[in-house]
Amino acid sequence: MKENDTVKIHLPRKADYASLIRLAVSGIASKIGFDIDVIEDIKVAVSEVCNKIVSLSTENCDKYYDITFQLFSDGLKVQFKVPGGFAGKMFEGESGEFAYAIISSLMDEFSVDCNGDCIITMGKNLGAE
């Protein structure tokens, strides 16, 4: 991991920004050198988390959220910080289980670490498949 650049996007918790996220993920993932199928997988996985953040209501209902991308020479890490109670609900229910299965399968790393707030991390390595 020679390089370590961060790109952070701060955006409204609104469904209409889904297409902007897919566009930004494409731009970032293609900079690392992933091929087109893997870029598609990363778009799907990132979008799943964004969708849950947008669609679930939270106690302290922030109007905005951040996506943090860490670019390495050999991979990409994507992080989201979400309130604790919220993270518990994200992967519940039918479509929550689908989301969890999809992200786990498409990404090389996927974790939800809670300590008060939760950090959702997903990673994809270059040349892992």
Binding site: S19, D41, S55
Partner: protein, 105 residues
């Protein structure tokens, strides 16, 4: 943006073409349109998906909801011509064994 088009409707079968992107922005409209057509679930549903470019877990959940309705009447949901990237999502979620997936018509 997605489109849902009713191609054909017989006594026991609804044929529907899905195309475009079913994401969080378009999911509510997709749910309303699909469930309106499915009604009580007394007909088989056939979905032609060769123009479907993107569907997320919310969209998959909506399809499962439709399946549940028709299963109550021993009917089924047939999904034709899924693109590879979307078929992958059906495999991952096990939905390839829940719906009837077919390559060609």
């Amino acid at each position: 943006m997605f489109t849902l088009k009713l191609d054909n409707q017989t006594g026991d079968k609804l044929e529907i073409t899905l195309s475009g992107e079913i994401d969080i922005a378009s999911a509510p409209e997709f749910k309303t349109k699909l469930y309106d057509l499915v009604g009580d679930g007394k007909k088989d549903i056939v979905l032609f998906c060769d123009g479907l470019k993107y569907i997320d877990s919310t969209g998959l959940g909506i399809l499962v909801g439709a399946l549940k309705k028709v299963k109550l009447h021993q009917r089924n949901v047939y999904i034709y011509q899924l693109k590879d990237n979307i078929k992958k999502l059906f495999h991952i979620t096990g939905l390839d064994r829940v719906f009837v997936l077919e390559e060609a018509v």
